[in-house]
Amino acid sequence: MTPDARIDITAEVCPMTFVRTRIALERLPVGGVLEVRLKGDEPLRNVPGSARDLGHTVLGLEPLDDGTWRLLLRREGAGC
């Protein structure tokens, strides 16, 4: 799946990890797919759940060879 936008939050710490994710989602049209590169326990624990809490859909989460993770989110209408 080719995302409509990509952000890299591997250098961010809480709460900016989700602030970046939320703003990137808000800037997508409804149905748009966002790829988030993240690293470490905190964003792994919080970012997918926070996105889901706002009504967005978690399409996938997979580890990459360099130790980071690739999270795919779909922007839904209800959350923003």
Binding site: M16, R22, I23, E26
Partner: protein, 331 residues
């Protein structure tokens, strides 16, 4: 779109469920004129400006603060006015007052009913906020403004702060100065019910609870009344309508049990006519006072089988005020 310094600065607000980037922009799209002196205004301005909303003491009077750099690169598009009771903002704003030792704040939408605003603020004295309550009142004031900017507030939103610092919400009575808002599906049901009564006048009651509105179809008892007592009821159901008293009582009892309010009494004019007639007025307010205070009247005129127009009549300032009721298409 927020720029990088703004994202950094407002990050913790952007995180909030009801804010986000869009909400932060909304907070920057208003400015607040604090036509209210003293420590309450100072506290509110501090909270508002920290949240990204320009607040000042009025045109030219910036107060002790330098003008803010506009969040969106352009001056704020709309202005809220904050003032002390017994004042009232002409458009959107907040009224601050006091009542029985408590502090009361009413937030008002630009299109809120002015009669309802007058009713809820009628008993308010000018604000009298001793230290240190001014900081608390100021923060509550800022919160009300922010809720208005974010689209979270109803047309009228009230908060009360006790001397002990307990915050409680104040409810506004449902507005009866304007026609109730009735979903098209219910209006369509009404039109069909009235059409079925043709060529006689049809009648019905609209009941409502919060946002839910439902139709109670009624039988026009006028012909039966006329047959029994033609002197008291000279007209038949072709030219008048009336409820059977027992059926009407049953509706009122049912509404009462369900926690519903009578929003409106509806009837039809089978032969056109221009809305609420002189006869309708006489029946609805026989002694110059409405028989059912707070209940609107809805008249739907027909031409043949076709609904021509709908007219609301709402008791306002001593008379029935008529407004159009757009009708949905009914096949």
């Amino acid at each position: 779109m927020l720029n990088e310094p703004q994202i950094q600065r407002y990050a913790r607000q952007v995180l909030l469920r009801d804010v986000g980037e869009r909400g932060q922009e909304a907070l920057g799209a208003i400015e607040v004129e604090l036509a209210l002196g003293g420590a309450v205004a100072a506290a509110a301005a501090a909270y508002l400006r920290a949240g990204g909303t320009e607040a000042h003491a009025g045109p030219g009077g910036a107060g002790p603060w330098a003008p803010m750099e506009p969040l969106l690169g352009a001056p704020p598009a709309s202005r809220l006015r904050v003032l002390g009771a017994p004042g009232a903002p002409q458009r959107s704003g907040v009224v601050v007052g006091s009542a029985a030792g408590t502090h009361v704040l009413w937030s008002v939408a630009g299109d809120a009913c002015r009669a309802c605003l007058a009713r809820v603020t009628a008993a308010l004295a000018p604000p009298d906020v001793p230290e240190p309550a001014s900081v608390q009142v100021g923060s509550v004031l800022a919160l009300l403004v922010q809720r208005r900017a974010l689209g979270l507030a109803p047309a009228l939103e009230g908060l009360q702060l006790s001397p002990a610092g307990v915050l409680s919400t104040l409810g506004a009575e449902p507005c009866t100065h304007r026609p109730p808002s009735v979903p098209d599906a219910v209006l369509a049901e009404l039109v069909r019910h009235l059409a079925a009564a043709l060529p006689e006048e049809g009648c019905a009651v609209l009941l409502g609870r919060e946002d839910r509105v439902r139709l109670v179809p009624m039988v026009n008892a006028q012909t039966a009344h006329h047959a029994r007592d033609p002197d008291a009821f000279p007209r038949t159901a072709r030219r008048a309508f009336s409820f059977d008293p027992r059926a009407w009582l049953a509706v009122l009892r049912e509404a009462d049990q369900a926690g519903e309010r009578v929003l409106a009494i509806a009837h039809s004019h089978p032969e056109g006519g221009s809305g609420f007639s002189a006869e309708d007025r006489r029946h609805a307010a026989p002694d110059g006072q409405p028989l059912f205070p707070g209940v609107a009247h809805l008249v739907i005129s027909f031409e043949g089988r076709r609904p021509l127009s709908g007219r609301w009549a709402v008791w306002t300032d001593g008379d029935f005020l008529e407004t159009a009721c757009p009708l949905p298409h009914v096949p």
